[in-house]
């Protein structure tokens, strides 16, 4: 586990009493923004939570509980409460998105070369020899709640990906709240949730990457962004990324740079952003509206589409 644990003071007006601490976990940098006195206590609590979640749920660690479950397809396996909780949420998300969010695509991700933590992944890989299979096998996972027993169908391997990260953020927020450690903002690689608001400001100013002036004042809830611009690599001469269309088992193709979503929880925001990106500019907005969520679609042509209650552009501030 690489740990950064750096404490730095952000440059922000009215935020001089705020500080930030960060560490590396779950394949990304996790940062906590809070007053110095809160951060001192919050950082180890959040870090220990993320370490436990990564050890349990990483598909890249051969000894994680998830890897053991993936290696036991066809056999009933009694799983821990943590893995059970995340699996339940992932299956609920799959149903809610009609399978667009598919937690059973680990084999397909491997087939296109996503075989290691992205920071250590070879970005120039040889051409693929295998064809990826479509998703949808998650519907055949057998879950027995009496003893938390899970049987994966042959051929299915789980990858929780972003939903596990979002749920870890939500759990960290709950852990801090239970100890009265607030205000705080927990940011796991851009998927973030807030607890209360910074003193003297009333909101958390969060910029959307790559858009000057698109700073959102988050008062309550979570914000997540999905897109292929960061996690992509070459397999032969084909550009690959991690957002798979479950219909084909291949990376979805869109002229969308990213989708940012505001939601009550970080897990919801992450799933909704990923789903909306895969659905694309035509169907994604209708999906968000149907779920009562708001978001920002950023096209490759620089066109922005604001959905629901996504903050309007303040007058006098151009993109």
């Amino acid at each position: 586990m690489k740990t950064v644990n750096e404490i730095k003071r952000p440059m922000a007006m009215k935020m001089d009493e705020m500080a930030a601490g960060a560490f590396h976990a779950m394949g990304t940098t996790v940062a906590i923004h809070a007053p110095q006195s809160v951060l001192w206590h919050a950082l180890p609590l959040v870090q220990s939570l993320f370490i436990k979640w990564e050890e349990t749920l990483s598909r890249f660690k051969p000894d994680s509980e998830l890897s053991r479950l993936n290696d036991s397809s066809g056999t009933p396996v009694e799983v821990s409460p943590l893995l059970w909780t995340v699996l339940e949420a992932a299956l609920a998300a799959a149903k809610a998105t009609r399978g667009i969010f598919d937690p059973g695509l680990e084999s397909q991700l491997r087939a296109i070369g996503y075989r290691a933590d992205f920071e250590t992944l070879d970005r120039h890989q040889p051409p693929a020899e295998r064809r990826a299979r479509p998703g949808g096998l998650w519907r055949s996972i057998d879950c027995r709640p009496e003893r938390r027993t899970v049987t994966l169908p042959p051929g299915l391997r789980l990858d929780f990906g972003g939903i596990a990260k979002g749920m870890a953020v939500d759990a960290a927020v709950a852990r801090l709240d239970a100890r009265g450690l607030q205000p705080a903002l927990i940011d796991a690689g851009g998927d973030l949730a807030v607890l209360s608001t910074p003193p003297g400001l009333g909101y958390w100013p969060v910029a959307v990457e790559g858009l000057d002036g698109e700073t959102v004042g988050v008062i309550r809830g979570a914000l997540a962004t999905s897109g292929p611009s960061r996690r992509n690599w070459l397999q032969g001469d084909r550009r690959r990324h991690h957002l798979l269309d479950p219909v084909t088992g291949q990376p979805a193709e869109h002229a969308l740079l990213s989708v940012s979503v505001l939601a009550p929880t970080c897990a919801q925001a992450d799933v909704a952003a990923k789903t909306a990106w895969i659905l694309g500019r035509e169907k994604g907005p209708a999906f968000l509206l149907a779920q009562g969520l708001s978001g920002l679609f950023r096209g490759a042509d620089a066109r922005l589409i604001r959905i629901g209650d996504w903050p309007a552009r303040a007058q006098g501030r151009d993109a």
Binding site: P10, A12, K14, M15, M18, A20, A31, H33, A89, A96, D170, V173, A174, A178, D187, G189, G190, A193, L195, P198, L201, Y203, W204, P205, V208, E209, T215, V216, G217, V218, I219, R220, G221, A222, L223, A224, T225, P228, S229, R230, R231, S258, L262, A263, P264, T265, Q268, D270, K283, A286, F287, A290, Q291, L293, D309, P311, A312, R313, A314, R317
Partner: protein, 100 residues
């Protein structure tokens, strides 16, 4: 009577007059039929359009699913909704979203 108000003088003229009346009748009948067809088609089209408008997109669910509307946790505040300042804010950002 012919077009000039005179009684037709021959069988041929009477026959031509009948043909003219028949043609006029056919024309009016055709116009009436065409209008009725247009009205029916328009009604059908309106109905089809209205039906299409009520049909949700294939990819969208018609109502929020349980995953996206879980019961709020009054202790932690999680699930209690999301709230932002209605417009983008001029404050220097504390952090930024990152594509993941």
């Amino acid at each position: 009577m012919n077009a000039s108000g005179e009684r037709p003088s021959s069988n041929r003229e009477r026959w031509l007059a009948r043909v003219k009346r028949f043609k006029r009748g056919t024309l009016w009948l055709s116009l009436a039929g065409f209008s009725a067809l247009c009205a029916l088609s328009a009604e059908h089209l309106v109905g089809v359009t209205a039906q299409a408008a009520n049909t949700p997109p294939a990819s969208a669910t018609t109502s929020p699913s349980p995953f996206f509307s879980p019961p709020a946790n009054s202790q932690t505040g999680l699930g209690n909704g999301v709230q932002t300042v209605p417009q983008t804010v001029p404050t220097m950002p504390l952090t930024q979203t990152r594509v993941s």
